[in-house]
Subunit: 800 residues, 2 copies
């Protein structure tokens, strides 16, 4: 795993200064950058000559690695376009398929247009509000950078808008391609399983690459625009771009909420009337709600999740860069070469993650008789292995610490490489944990299926118990990952001017970076889910051949698993990132307080702890824990209410249009789509505003330390409740599928399959799980990260 | 509200010293106590002469108030015996009633005997384990008192056993009387509503008074036995009796878990077969599970809740006394009269609460045509008003601070009286909040009933949303109560030697004390629930007259509300108490650390914060939040599994004994009772051990600061999840009742009552809510307090 081409060592490390200067100092006053660089260069020279450094010196000039960010981002975008072109030029199947696909496309575009208009207006209001707040409150004496007042306000407002726009673009493009990919997957399924997998996966990968690449490019370009390449301002630039992360979170919240409400209300509403009351199959064209259901898969699962992971990667990049500033000071003081490397590190790691994923896409291939999950797993493992290798390379090159080593004489970069591997291992662990809890071959799902024999009540009781139980492995795994990466980082030997060990926190940041290297692939697998779900719907609706439907059914089952995996992944990354973003918040607060102290303000001291014994912090923690329940309550109720409206409409159509059941009349699909659209947009506003307003209110009433407590405890509460909702919902879903596949038997060995009472009970559980796992749960991921970005941006407001 | 008999002022405050001396120094070295007392006496004299003290000096000698504890406790016990005698000598109804009651009694005694044998063994193991741990680890250099090593180990073990024994006694006696009261309530219902209310309420009050009085007497006597009356050791004694609180918690945990699993498994199991599958009424004698269900009401709701509130009052008394030690030092240093008053204060307040409740019992009367809830509310309001008055009296007498006043020249005691009133107001607020969320006349329950029209899935979805929603008002109310009582306390003007304001925390302690003044009455109302529930069951089972059954039905509905109220009350008190117990833990840790510092140990410093930024604290917080889910998962699953076993057995009896449905054969009740007993006892062990082992493991692995984080965040998480489970369950229950009462109508105005699809859907919700509200929720209250007592006792283990 360690890249160590010894012959190049002397060559590269003997001449760092000349190669660094043009790239970093292009727009910087020469004398300042020289002052920083010279000791580093000397150290690097000394290090090369020192005998005990053998084997660990970098193969490549650290600063040149920074140059990879822009090309990597652009290559990923180009690759996404290549994949999109590949998908779009494929066969679109029968006339019937094309007709259904066109209807879905129409409904999805109509919803996205209205939803993103609403979100766009909210984003503009948000940007103006933030710009004004910061202009008024973040004056010279509370500013955290040399930029403040109206200038900072305008810059932050712009960053917010750019973040919002990029997030919206990711969501829209991802949704657009997935709507196009679904019919092509259905068409491919008429010929070949492998081809269908490839079409769906490539369609998903368009989203995956665009989301990660746009987020990387956006952060990088904002960073450059706000002085990231200038040695004088590089340490300020990460703080100036937090608005970008907030803009992305803001859009993601509403996109996930609106889409999540739409998709599950349509799903619950059409299933309850169609499957339960009328006994017709899912996706039967006689059901007036079925088009809304198919539209929902695209607008909720694709667009929503895309916006969610866009903001994850953006927020975590920025947070890690802020922590990098802390190490930058350490590196500068110690005179290590290229201290900026610590700030650029997250973006470089992300770039290598993207490149690894591009290579892995070519391994998504297999045999016709293979389990489709294996085909996808092959690519995932290639991504992971390439990520480990490139992580070793990047840490080795960028984390050079002169003569200094970590504990036991082991070089610093090896400790951090270890932390990164912890992150990658955590994501693998979550893939398997999620499978255990939501796949039909293990105890939890079987237990729920067994409980269905005694009716819906015991199905719900045991399902709830399973959902609650899943917090155990989740919390223990996250706890171990945090502990291990913090310990590895702490051993790396980074101490700041005051003697404080800053390595531990940076270790957790590197773990997050490591984990997020595979984001593009995970997101592709995730979008694979709704594409295959839709492909199945189109095949059913258009009356495709039996063998095609069999293939789409198999893909749909795999898609359910991959969707669940992504959620586990999102939860794990949110937890690790919370610790990182939380520390970034403390860094920002201390920058402000430090400036006040320097200005001679009385009674101010740095924030050294987030003290739960402080009654304000305790109350904030209480409110944060409540917020995740209250927010979920609003989201779940929104689905219940909207589904109720759909049920009444579909029932009315069945009643007033008796020709529907005999195929003589066509149901009014558009009316259901319209009802769902309006209800979803109306219902997304309340939870969204609650999420944005609560941290601001807590900060204004209880102060900056309380906000930090809210951030931490809110993250814990949010992550655990999301775990409960996601895994509980997934397990209910698969318990139903387990029964439908004929695995459940009564005492006499008779199969209790479709149509049995146990199946009816399992359908209740599945329906209950829908808003849990696809509306409230994923929205909580966004909420957790929104808490972090909103408080990072508005920190000055909370300091008196 | 202010008691101010001015004429007595000069008389009483002019001569405090002579009257204090005999009572406090009876067993103390004279010189020590004199050294403390003289300045106080002088100050008191000065205060009397100072003109601006007019109107606020105490009417009674502070130290003499301490004498009330023992008599008040004994009076309450005597009153409980009087009530028990009154209940027992009443009419036991028809032969059929007596026969059913005898069967229930038999089943309940059989369960309690086996359950308490198991718990007794666990308690002995626990006591020995703790004694050994403390003997080995709590050596001279980590001890928090002058007692340490084996002596402390033995003392703590004894305190643990006494606490456990008292808790068991409360549970057993409460259960015994309630089993006797139920048939007498059924008999009284044949004659008069008011008489039935009185019998049930008096039966409940036996529990209420015994629990609170035994807890008070137990804490007081242990305190006295460990040196509480000796001026030299009074400040150490509260720390020595924490074992008592832990013993009580330990028993309460298993009592609540075992009883909770028993009662709900029997309820769910017998309802699902009888009501849902066979369509026979609840409590129909043909149902083999019905006796187990009736037994369950007694062993779960009575015995379990009694043990729960026993440990609440014990733990909170001890925690408040430990905080009182902090103020004791302040008082001693400032030279105020009778500094011990601050330590005795919680017990004196509790005594006055008991006396207020005794008087209030005589106001439980009303008219035959009155809503029975009004009759109970009358007593509650009398208790509350008398509590406010006596609180003013006690704070005025015991919180004398010489010449010193709080902010704005307002005497210290007035600030603390305000804090106490905040506590009482919080308990009143919770009564109304719980009613809003669980009574059929308001939006939440109606919403669930409406959602039942579209089937069980939407019933569960909306019920979940309502359950989650209830955290909002709960958290806001608790937040305001904490903030207000902390602020009032902080304004009272108590600063310790290092200038730290210790009043804030003591303010929250006084609020908790104020809230808990009404515990005996609340507990009586709570036990009223299962008694009337059983009375209804007996009336139904024995085929009593229609008018008697109508009265028991009305009482049963009221009983459901009072049971819900108690849970809200228990949650509110647990939250306030958490802050208090948490600070007691920090006091104890600092006592130990201070001793280590004094002994010259290197690298030790006092614990000044519980820093969430510390990765160990964050991980502990994560584990604590997980613990409440995992524990609930085990409890809920236990009910599901046990209910499944009951369902199979009842179904088997219906199948193999066809004469049951035609009343020709008698079902085998005993077999179901036996199955339930064995399953409940088996299933209570795992969650109990998890609850005990987790805080110990966290302390050993992550240290004492992490434990503090676990305590705080675990309390928040536990309180909120309990709120969700209790209120969600209560709302589902009442949504079903709402439909049964014929309040739900379809679009055409037709009533959707019993037998409708909506009703069937509501029954599913009700059944799901059963283990939530009566097993997991109440067990979480105990868990939260157990975390506090276990860490208080084992703190030395966590300090290296």
């Amino acid at each position: 795993m360690q890249i160590d081409p010894r012959p190049d060592r002397t060559l590269s490390s003997a001449r760092p200064a000349p190669r660094i200067t043009p790239c970093r100092c292009g727009r910087a006053p020469a004398q300042a950058s020289q002052a920083i660089l010279v000791p580093g260069a000397t150290d690097a020279l000394e290090r090369t000559l020192a005998p005990r450094q053998g084997g660990f010196a970098p193969a490549v000039d650290p600063s040149s690695l920074q140059l990879i960010i822009l090309p990597a981002g652009l290559i990923a975008v180009a690759f996404a376009l290549f994949l999109a072109r590949d998908v779009l030029r494929r066969d679109t199947g029968t006339k019937e398929m094309e007709a259904v696909a066109a209807t879905i496309f129409e409904g999805a575009v109509a919803f996205i247009r209205r939803q993103y208009s609403t979100i766009g207006i909210l984003a503009i209001v948000g940007a103006v509000g933030i710009a004004i707040l910061i202009s008024v409150f973040e004056t010279a004496n509370v500013a955290d950078t040399s930029v403040f007042g109206p200038e900072l306000g305008i810059r932050t407002g712009i960053a917010f808008l750019v973040g919002a726009a990029c997030s919206m673009a990711s969501g829209i493009i991802g949704m657009f391609i997935s709507v196009k990919a679904n019919v092509r997957t259905a068409a491919a399924a008429r010929r070949s399983l492998v081809e269908a997998v490839q079409v769906a996966m490539r369609g998903g990968a368009v989203s995956g690459f665009l989301v990660v690449a746009l987020s990387l490019l956006g952060v990088y370009l904002m960073f450059v625009a706000f002085g990231g390449l200038n040695a004088n301002t590089v340490r300020e630039a990460p703080f100036l771009i937090v608005g970008y992360g907030f803009g992305a979170s803001f859009v993601a919240l509403f996109a996930q909420l609106g889409g999540g409400i739409y998709t599950k209300a349509a799903d619950v509403g059409s299933d309850l009337v169609g499957k339960v009351e009328k006994g017709i199959p899912e996706d039967d064209p006689r059901n007036a709600g079925v088009i809304a259901d198919l539209v929902g898969d695209n607008v909720g699962d694709c667009a929503g999740r895309g916006a969610d992971l866009f903001e994850s990667t953006a927020a975590e990049n920025i947070g890690a860069m802020i922590l990098g500033v802390g190490v930058y000071f350490v590196a500068q003081k110690a005179g290590w070469a290229n201290p900026e490397a610590w700030i650029f590190f997250p973006l470089v790691v992300r770039s290598f993650g993207l490149l690894s994923t591009i290579i892995a896409m070519f391994f998504v291939r297999g045999r016709e008789d293979e389990n489709p999950m294996n085909i996808l797993n092959r690519g995932y493992w290639v991504t992971t292995i390439l990520s480990v290798i490139s992580l070793a390379f990047v840490t080795n090159v960028m984390m050079q610490t002169g003569n200094q080593t970590g504990a036991n004489g082991i070089p610093t970069w090896i400790w951090f490489f270890g932390a990164g591997v912890v992150g990658l291992a955590t994501s693998v662990a979550f893939v398997y944990i999620t499978q255990y809890y939501t796949a039909g071959t293990f105890r939890p799902v079987k237990e729920i299926a067994e409980a269905s024999k005694t009716g819906p009540a015991t199905n719900i009781i045991i399902g709830t118990a399973v959902g609650y139980e899943t917090t155990f492995v989740t919390a223990i795994t996250i706890g171990i990952a945090l502990f291990a990466s913090h310990w590895l980082g702490a051993e790396a030997g980074l101490t700041d001017a005051s003697g404080r060990n800053v390595g531990g926190i940076f270790g957790t940041a590197v773990a997050t970076m490591g984990m997020l290297m595979t984001t593009a692939y995970i997101l592709a697998m995730d979008t694979f889910g709704p594409i295959t779900d839709n492909a199945g719907g189109i095949a059913e609706f258009s009356g495709a051949e039996a063998h095609a439907r069999e293939i789409t059914d198999r893909l749909d089952a795999v898609g359910n698993t991959t969707k669940a995996l992504t959620k586990g992944y999102a939860i794990a990354s949110a937890s690790l990132a919370a610790f990182l973003l939380f520390n970034a918040y403390i860094d920002k607060v201390n920058l402000i307080l430090g400036r006040q102290i320097a200005a001679g303000k009385e009674g101010v001291s740095l924030m050294t702890s987030v003290n739960l014994e402080n009654v304000n912090v305790f109350i904030a923690a209480l409110i944060a824990s409540m917020l995740v329940y209250f927010f979920s309550s609003l989201a779940i109720r929104a689905v219940g209410k909207t589904a109720g409206a759909i049920i009444f409409e579909v029932r009315r159509q069945f009643r007033e249009m008796p020709g529907i059941m005999t195929y003589e009349q066509k149901p009014d699909y558009a009316r259901v789509v319209d009802i769902t659209t309006r209800a979803a947009l109306r219902e997304m506003v309340a939870p969204g505003l609650v999420a944005v307003a609560t941290p601001i209110a807590v900060g204004l009433l209880l102060g900056y330390e309380a906000v930090a407590g809210m951030l931490m405890v809110g993250t814990i509460a949010g992550v655990l409740l999301a775990t409960v909702l996601n895994n509980g919902g997934g397990a209910w879903d698969n318990a139903k599928k387990y029964i439908e596949s004929g695995h459940l038997k009564d005492d006499h060995g008779n199969v209790l399959g479709k149509g049995s009472d146990a199946h009816a009970a399992a359908v209740v559980g599945d329906t209950v799980g829908d808003p849990f796992k696809d509306t409230a749960g994923p929205s909580l991921h966004v909420l957790v990260k929104l808490l972090a970005t909103i408080t990072l941006v508005l920190a000055p407001l909370f300091i008196r």
